[in-house]
């Protein structure tokens, strides 16, 4: 297994720059998930590591060896495609053995290795079948088997479970995690699904427009998003973003969201803002609703989404709408009177111009 280093990677497709000065180190045995919308450059990044795409400038090293000019075949990494990409004219066994035949290992070795991997993935009974006779999940297990059989330096996965249905995705997610823990393989995983990223990653790399937006552990990315993009991309439902004005001084400050009455918060939580124009970011679980008069101010619900385990309730705050996460059955419909307040400890502030997070320096 190996440590992968990307240094100042740039990539142009014609005049379009898809990777902008990307530098990243993936530690030995680490599971890194590249997260971003389609077209953000994450797949190009992965393909560049694999050698399926050349880079315009910058270096890629695997265990200290510069590989950016090497052919894919010489980099000793494995790649799992979203489309599974199993060879239809070969059986499952032949598919898994295919990478071993490239290194001309003996037939007996091949059979043994294929058996071992198949056993590990629980697909032994599928070995004589053709890929066309497999279910989606089994196809991906075979594809992963084909990737693992050679014991590569690193395992690269490009939305490997994106083509599966929701239930199977969840199951495969758990399997991929188990596999990573068992093999401790350096893994780079590309997805646009933030749930997948959160559940699998040791570290998440959020990409947008060819630029790394934030690199960090799932919790860190969730709790301390570096900028507005990350804040809105990670987390479901999406973080509320609203223009905010901070007024008052003394012990309490007033957070005026969307020209509303404003939320009273301890000054210490907003003192770092210095009055510059800012945006408030607050996750639905930090928007607190109450049926009883109390802190905050009175408003009414505008929309309720019952989701079973909890409800998402929209409330008007001035001329903005905030989404709140409530216990299921909290509100019965639109137009109900509720009292809304915010948890100031979980409020995020972003520079209105740059979108960068304004964090307390304490």
């Amino acid at each position: 297994m190996a440590r992968i280093e990307l240094n100042n990677i740039e990539k142009f497709f014609g005049s379009v720059q898809v990777l902008k000065n990307v530098s990243l180190t993936i530690e030995d045995g680490e599971f890194v998930v590249m997260l971003g919308q389609s077209g953000c450059g994450k797949t190009t990044m992965l393909r560049a590591i694999a050698g399926l795409e050349t880079v315009s400038s910058g270096t890629i090293t695997i265990d200290g060896r510069e590989v950016q000019d090497l052919k894919a075949a010489d980099r000793d990494i494995a790649f799992v495609f979203q489309s599974f990409s199993l060879y239809p004219h070969m059986t499952v066994e032949e598919n898994i053995a295919f990478p071993l035949r490239a290194v001309r290992s003996s037939k007996a070795d091949r059979v043994a290795e294929v058996k071992e991997v198949a056993k590990f993935l629980g697909i032994e009974r599928l070995l004589p079948r053709r890929p066309s006779a497999l279910s989606g999940g089994d196809m991906q297990r075979v594809a992963i088997g084909r990737a693992l059989v050679r014991r590569p330096q690193a395992l690269l996965m490009d939305e490997p479970i994106g083509a599966l249905d929701a239930k199977l995705r969840e199951q495969m997610r758990a399997e991929i995690k188990r596999l990573h823990i068992a093999r401790n393989s350096t893994s780079v995983y590309v997805t646009h699904d933030q749930v997948e990223a959160m559940s699998l990653a040791d570290r998440i790399v959020v990409m947008h427009d060819g630029v790394l937006q934030q690199v960090g552990a799932p919790n860190e990315v969730y709790l301390h998003p570096a900028n507005l993009f990350v804040a809105q991309f990670v987390g479901s439902p999406v973080m509320n973003i609203a223009d905010v004005a901070v007024e008052g001084s003394g012990t309490d400050a007033l957070l005026r969201v969307g020209r509303s009455e404003g939320f009273r918060v301890p000054t210490a939580t907003v003192s770092h803002l210095n009055g510059s124009p800012a945006k408030l970011g607050i996750r639905p679980e930090a928007v607190l609703l109450s049926r009883e008069p109390g802190e905050g101010f009175e408003t009414e619900t505008t929309n309720v989404e019952p989701l079973g385990s909890h409800d998402i309730v929209d409330v008007r705050v001035g001329d903005e709408t905030l989404r709140a996460r409530c216990d299921s059955g909290f509100a019965r419909g639109d137009g109900e009177k509720v009292w809304v307040t915010l948890d100031p400890a979980r409020a995020h502030f972003f520079d209105a111009q740059t979108g960068q997070s304004l964090r307390r320096t304490a």
Binding site: A50, L52, A72, A78, F79, S83, S85, Y87, F98, A102
Partner: protein
């Protein structure tokens, strides 16, 4: 097949079946005609109305392969008994096999040589056109080629004028460089004709093969050539088979250039068969026998590849 329910659908269905039968009769009648004439004795070949029931004979085939002459007097019994069965058939028809005066060997008619030429030229040119076409198509399909669309249009444009238009300049050039009446000459010509067709058809097929197949192989330690041979070729087999059938049929049936560019050495069967009509009183059943044998390779080749062809025709429609 769609389930047939209403009266209207039943009627439409019957009509469709009837139409297929009519088409079948129209298409198969000439083949039946040639095939039946090939097995008729000479006297029944040109009767009007045509003879439908007759005792089939192999005489036309026996006559097809050797040079014969009319006998002035009947053959003596001893020679007749000593002759092999096929020569007896020819004696029965009042003709004798022309033999070399000194060695006594029979003189072949020239049909087999032409047939062999047809096979050699068609098979080699088909192989060349399909293999070159597949490689070219792979290049166009997988790599960024500068002016790709212009190149492809240029390749297609070689098919846009009727080949016969260039026949006379081609003839003069071939004579100048000594390719006239050679196997190589016709092989080059037919390969060139079929290449554009082959490139376009194969590009369609190769475009349909997901790039990820090769990329997976590339990452797994194979070179691009190995990936092409081990992954792309097996996947493209259907397309290759379909393209090969079409190229083979075009090369096998080609008449105009074969007539113009060859006269003896490399002449193929298409110009030879009709030339027999002109030599003396036409023996239609022998000509029919020649045409019938000429039909066989294409029929066999197509039959062997029929499964690939069926898949090939519906390729793209059912794949995704």
């Amino acid at each position: 097949m769609a389930e047939v329910k209403t009266t209207r659908e039943v009627v439409m269905n019957r009509a469709a079946i009837a139409a297929v039968f009519v088409a079948l009769i129209v298409m198969l009648t000439p083949i039946y005609w040639i095939a039946s004439t090939a097995f008729k004795p000479r006297s029944l070949a040109t009767t009007a109305p045509p003879t439908v029931f007759f005792e089939p004979t192999l005489t036309p085939f026996a006559k097809l392969f050797v040079r014969r002459s009319q006998m002035r007097e009947p053959v003596d019994q001893e020679t007749y008994d000593a002759a092999p069965w096929w020569e007896q058939l020819i004696y029965d028809d009042g003709e004798s096999v022309v033999r070399n005066r000194r060695s006594g060997e029979i003189t072949p008619s020239g049909y087999w040589d032409r047939y062999k030429n047809s096979l050699i030229i068609s098979i080699i040119s088909t192989f060349l056109a399909v293999s070159m076409g597949t490689l070219t198509a792979y290049g166009f399909s997988r790599f960024k080629v500068k002016g790709e669309n212009d190149w492809l249009f240029f390749i297609l444009s070689t098919r846009m004028l009727p080949p016969v238009v260039v026949a006379i300049p081609m003839f003069l050039m071939y004579r100048a460089v000594g390719l006239h009446d050679t196997h190589l000459g016709l092989i080059i010509l037919y390969t060139a004709f079929n290449l554009s067709f082959s490139v376009w058809i194969m590009k369609g097929f190769i475009d349909e093969i997901p790039r990820e197949y090769e990329e997976a192989a590339l990452v797994d330690g194979y070179t691009r050539l190995q990936a092409f041979i081990k992954i792309v070729l097996p996947e493209a087999l259907t397309g290759i088979a379909a393209t090969a059938v079409f190229c083979f049929i075009i090369a096998w049936n080609e008449y105009a250039f074969a007539l113009m560019m060859t006269n003896r050495n490399a002449q193929t069967a298409p110009p030879y068969i009709p030339s027999q009509v002109g030599s003396g009183l036409p023996d239609w059943s022998v000509i029919a026998a020649g045409a019938f044998l000429f039909l066989l390779p294409v029929a066999i080749f197509t039959f062997l590849l029929r499964n690939h062809l069926l898949r090939g025709m519906s390729f793209g429609a059912i794949r995704k």
